[in-house]
């Protein structure tokens, strides 16, 4: 199928529109079916993807505004492929585990629209299309948090919307300026990202453009000190909202750095390694400590997300195949693991309507299956070898070692501080005697929850033991990216920093 990407983008949207006429009682089943089909389609995309080709595949171009070079231009490479698959997977599992009664139809429709925008962002190769999906993704999320959230939901959703929106407006200015530069150099308008890649810009332009894009991406990641919307959003969002937000929406920011900042501004990016590394290290240690101080399980995981995103940022700016490949793998693993953790928090919230650790204790003896799956995800989160979390974290730290030894040691404390907050969370909630009477009769995971969680456990172990099917295509595309950056870099110092691997596959 030639148009698989368009099908992937618009199938959920069309299904979402049709969702308006679906009966309220069958909305859940309808949503799940659509999400399953979508996931199967994404699997098909993966199967028909040529893992040895490092370039863009399944490319479609339809001119939209030819005078300004705006076109509907989509394609996937090894970097975006797996994020697309993960987005489809997490939407499907999130929908299956969803435990919402109120306005279920609206929720299903919002989720399907959200799915469209998420997949659109990751496959768009035209800046305007990218921006369109990027901004559109805010709308369903705003609605999900605002309509089904906790007591502070309005504040949280508006904060989420305005914060990320103002960041991305600056990014839009950067995009327009980039298009203007392209026009003034080449004489024709184009918003195509691949055209922009070819542009070799002077250093001062690169820095300004890098900063403009940086603001947009950094708020989304979220990087310290732009991260404070995240705990509110997670704290107030319903489970499904948190799952999607943590698993997919945050990855848009880091993906943007890989897709835009690195190849377009290689010189500026290398220039900015140190400032970004400092921010990332602050992010890793500081938010991990903040996570340790939290009283609410969900907030711990929310802050831990920020901490892990710091590791991802660090890997992207390691400027070698180990670091960037590790970062992209870590995006996937963080998506799976944090998504699962948020689902697990949702499970206990559904039963007790509280997320405070002090309310729990001894859950391991009451809910052994729950404790087991939580334990596996916890270990994946702290990066235990043979779970999915280790591969990415190891590669990132390994890659960043090339850039800075001290930085790696500081960032490496994430393996310690991560263990501290996660284990103390586990001890407070799962270990010890059952002190609270209300906890002594809690039901263990039911079939629906197991259906959502067991696949994630399988993936966590599978990709931890055998990451090659995923890491291979990622590695090819990353090597091609680095080769391109190396070629484009203007000074020898920058060329030296961008480390090439010994064997690079050319993008076809």
């Amino acid at each position: 199928m030639e148009n698989i990407l368009s099908v992937l983008i618009f199938f959920p949207a069309v299904a979402g529109l049709l969702g308006f006429v679906v009966d309220k009682n069958s909305a859940r089943v309808y949503g799940i079916s659509v999400a399953v089909v979508e996931f199967l389609l994404s699997l098909w995309l993966w199967m028909s993807f040529d893992g040895t080709n490092a370039g863009m595949q399944f490319v479609e171009i339809i001119p939209l505004v030819p005078d300004f070079g705006i076109s509907y231009y989509v394609g996937v490479d090894g970097i975006s492929l797996f994020i697309v698959v993960m987005a489809a997977l997490m939407t499907m599992l999130g929908m299956i585990s969803m435990n919402i009664e109120k306005d279920i139809k609206n929720m299903v429709i919002s989720l399907l629209f959200l799915e469209m925008t998420m997949i659109g962002v990751f496959v768009a190769l035209d800046a305007i299309v990218f921006y369109l999906f990027w901004e559109l993704s805010l709308v369903p999320m705003l609605y999900i948090i605002g309509a089904w959230g906790g007591p502070l939901r309005i504040y949280a959703s508006v904060k989420f919307f305005l914060y990320t929106f103002s960041g991305s407006l600056i990014m839009l200015v950067g995009m327009l300026f980039m298009a203007y530069l392209y026009q003034s150099i080449s004489g024709v308008w184009s918003f195509s990202i691949t055209d922009w890649y070819a542009l070799v810009l002077p250093m001062n332009y690169q820095i300004w453009l890098f900063l403009a894009f940086f603001i947009g991406f950094a708020v989304k990641v979220p990087m310290f000190p732009f991260h404070t919307w995240l705990p509110y959003a997670h704290g107030q969002a319903p489970t499904i909202g948190s799952v999607i937000l943590a698993a997919v929406l945050l990855k848009m920011g880091t993906y943007g750095f890989v897709r835009f900042s690195l190849p377009m501004f290689p010189d500026a990016s290398t220039q900015m390694i140190m400032p970004i590394a400092v921010l990332s290290i602050i992010m890793i240690i500081y938010t991990a400590m903040v996570a340790y101080a939290q009283k609410d399980i969900k907030q711990v995981i929310a802050y831990s997300s920020v901490s892990h995103m710091g590791v991802i940022m660090l890997g992207i700016f390691a400027m070698n195949a180990e670091g960037i490949g590790g970062s992209i793998f870590l995006m996937l693993s963080h998506g799976i693991v944090s998504g699962a953790l948020f689902m697990l928090v949702g499970v206990i919230y559904d039963r007790r309507h509280t997320k405070l650790m002090s309310e729990f204790g001894g859950l391991a003896s009451v809910m052994p299956k729950y404790a087991l799956i939580f334990g596996i995800m916890l270990m994946a989160s702290v990066g235990l070898p043979l779970t999915i979390g280790f591969v990415g974290e190891f590669l990132v730290l390994l890659g960043f070692y090339k850039v800075s030894v001290i930085g790696t040691i500081l960032a490496g404390t994430s393996v310690i501080v991560g263990a501290i907050y996660m284990l103390s969370l586990y001890k407070k909630s799962f270990f010890g005697p059952v002190t609270n009477e209300e906890n002594s009769k809690l039901a263990d995971l039911d079939a629906k929850e197991l259906v959502a969680l067991v696949p994630l456990v399988v993936i966590v172990i599978w990709l931890g033991v055998y990451p090659k099917p995923v890491l291979g295509p990622i590695d090819n595309s990353v090597k091609a990216l680095l080769g391109f950056m190396h070629e484009k870099a203007q000074t020898t110092e920058v060329k030296e920093i961008i480390t090439l691997s010994k064997n690079i596959k050319e993008a076809k």
Binding site: L162, T228, M289, P368, L372, K402, V405, L423, K427, P433
Partner: protein, 631 residues
């Protein structure tokens, strides 16, 4: 031969998964039996491999599949069975098999019987990955794997509540488990850094490639890598200052203490130093530091054991002390002696712990040796086992400990490091004293337990029989010293005493023996006839210092844990909420208040609006008029 490698490696994994299937169901006897059988098959396979390696003199190298490949990094799941790893495999699987059988009896009444076997077998699998891997990343898998299994097993009785440190120094099993995991993680960071250093300087993590490349590396790189790897080893082997977790780990079930915290996992650090000996041989400064730290830990831990009243903690301190001996030997370049002591120690220390487990079982989990005494009547076999193990630990000929420990002390003399030698000799005396203080207080003298209404009984027969292999090995292992030396020095550098030392060997041995026997005699004089407490000594400064473990746990609690929690709290409540988030909200508020105050312009009166419009037009006209003038 490959199939034996896989049997040895995967039988414990199968066992773990099989037991895991029944993890949430009530006790099933067959789970324990099958797990033990699978472990035994792993032991048999290891023994066959050992025989094969001995016969052919070369290792077996297998590669299962690729693991991580990114950039130039290629990590396979590769396993190597050579003289060093096969020795470890035999020791690990043998002790594990005994511990598995023992656990069938020991965990008899525990409701989580099946779960226990699952964890225990998973540990053995991780340990085998650790010793068999052919690269540093694989070693790290096992390294972390044993850490997690240790976490699971220390916290096995997770349902116990937290208590104050006055009642129980480690507060609760789950607390001890977390402490062990986090402290090990600190060391693991060092290990990771070591791996990174090697990768970026060599380009591979395979042992053979790395070791072949070492002579081409700068000295600074070698020293950095050696230090980083040794930091990793310090955590796993609980060397000062990362030692506190080991005694707290005694919260776990006793078979766990025997297997993980005495015989196998804690020796992983020693194994790492032996495995990476080409690196450590090229960095004599680091090696000397290792030897010095090992010696220090030997006497440091032994001193704390002198006054402790907790049966298991005393043995834990002695483990710590013996690990110090091993590091001393490895640091001085006598790698095969370190490995030999590691094996011998595994046998008698596991036996000692399992004997202690019998006592605990009999005493209804009472651990205070001051409340025991005279148990020899009720528990004859346990007394014999623990006596033999303690004699071996004390280094009384002809038991295993004599040969292995004496060789280490002799090495210290041979290397001319007389201070280390002297400390090790004194420690040998202390070892003998505290071991027999424990044995006498437990089994001899007045029956103090009667006040507490306990009726001790001997352990099950099959458990006692299962302990026999360890008992026999604790006695005879020493006789194979020369055979072992011949076997492992095919791979490890041989270490022979100089001519001079050789002449003095008898005298040196006698000195050690005098100290050892003296220690036992002193213990008999003080405790042989029952407990006589001396208030004055117990309130003395040194006694209190030792009893409180030099106040190191308190120091860590006050100066690391509490500040960490405090700073976290400040970061959250003051920095994150009051500065970072407040700034964002302040920006939003500024915009809001600006809008709010300019809202008054919106009077609703059309006439006002038109006036404002007029003002705007005038301003624009003026601007249009001025701009050309300004050029």
């Amino acid at each position: 031969m490959e199939k034996f490698v896989y049997i040895a490696l995967f039988a414990p994994l199968v066992s773990s998964l099989f037991a895991g299937l029944f993890g949430m169901t009530p006790k099933k006897m067959f789970v324990g039996v099958i797990a033990s059988l699978l472990l035994a098959s792993s032991f048999v396979a290891s023994a066959i491999l050992a025989y094969h390696v001995n016969l052919t003199g070369s290792g077996i190298h297998v590669t299962l599949m690729d693991w991580i490949g990114a950039g130039d990094l290629k990590i396979p799941f590769g396993f190597i069975v050579d003289q060093v790893s096969v020795s470890m495999m035999v020791v690990v699987t043998l002790v594990s098999t005994v511990v598995h059988i023992y656990s069938i009896g020991y965990m008899d009444h525990d409701k989580s019987f099946n779960r226990f076997f699952s964890y225990l077998s998973a540990f053995v699998f991780s340990m085998l990955v650790l010793v068999m891997s052919d690269n540093f990343a694989g070693l790290f898998i096992g390294w972390e794997g044993v850490g997690v299994c240790s976490w699971l097993l220390i916290g096995f009785w997770y349902h116990k509540p937290d208590v104050s440190p006055e009642i129980n120094p480690s507060i609760s099993p789950s607390w001890a488990a977390n402490e062990a995991f986090i402290v090990n993680r600190i060391a693991d960071l060092g290990m990771l850094i070591g791996i990174f250093i090697l990768y970026w300087n060599v380009g591979s993590l395979q042992y053979d490639v790395v070791f072949a490349e070492l002579p081409n590396l700068a000295n600074g790189v070698l020293v950095a890598a050696a230090i980083a790897l040794f930091i990793g080893a310090m955590g796993k082997s609980a060397q000062f200052p990362l030692h506190t977790w080991l005694t707290d780990a005694m919260e776990g079930p006793t078979p766990v203490s025997a297997l993980i915290h005495a015989a196998t996992m804690v020796t992983a650090g020693v194994f790492l130093v032996i495995r990476a000996h080409p690196l450590f041989m090229m960095t004599p400064e680091v090696s000397y530091f290792i030897a010095s730290l090992g010696t220090f830990v030997a006497i440091f831990a032994a001193s704390m054991a002198l006054v402790n009243r907790d049966l298991k903690r005393i043995i834990a301190y002695s483990t710590l002390s013996q690990l110090g001996y091993m590091f001393a030997a490895a640091g001085l370049g006598a790698y095969w002696i370190a490995l030999f002591h590691l094996a011998a120690h595994a046998f008698f220390k596991a036996l000692l712990f399992l004997g202690a487990g019998n006592v605990m079982h009999a005493m209804h989990d009472e651990l205070d040796i001051f409340k025991m005494g005279g148990l020899k009547k009720a528990m004859r076999w346990t007394y014999i086992y623990m006596g033999v193990a303690s004699l071996a630990l004390a280094g009384i000929p002809p038991l295993a400990g004599f040969f292995s420990k004496d060789a280490i002390i002799e090495t210290a003399f041979n290397e001319g490091t007389f201070i280390l030698w002297a400390i090790l000799v004194v420690t040998a005396g202390m070892t003998a004293f505290y071991s027999f203080r424990q044995v006498f207080l437990t089994f001899e003298g007045d029956e103090r337990y009667k006040e507490f209404g306990i009726h001790p009984h001997e352990m099950y027969k099959f458990v006692l029989i299962a302990l026999a292999p360890l008992g026999i090995l604790a006695v005879i292992a020493g006789f194979f010293q020369k055979t072992f030396q011949g076997f492992v020095t095919d791979l490890l550098p041989n270490y022979e005493m100089s001519e001079h030392t050789h002449h003095l060997a008898m005298i040196l041995g006698a000195v050690v023996l005098v100290f050892a026997v003296g220690g036992i005699a002193l213990a008999w004089i003080k405790y042989g006839k029952g407990l006589k407490r001396n208030e004055k000594v117990e309130n003395g400064f040194f006694y209190k210092l030792l009893k409180n473990q030099y106040y190191i746990p308190q120091f860590y609690a006050e100066f690391i844990s509490k500040p960490y929690a405090m700073i976290s709290e400040i970061f959250w409540k003051s920095v994150d909420m009051k500065i970072v988030d407040a700034t964002v909200d302040a920006i939003a508020k500024t915009i809001h208040t600006t809008g709010d105050s300019t809202r008054k312009m919106q009077t609703g009166n059309l006439s006002n609006y038109l006036n404002w419009m007029g003002v705007g037009v005038v301003i624009l006209l003026i601007a249009a008029a001025i701009t050309p003038m300004l050029g």
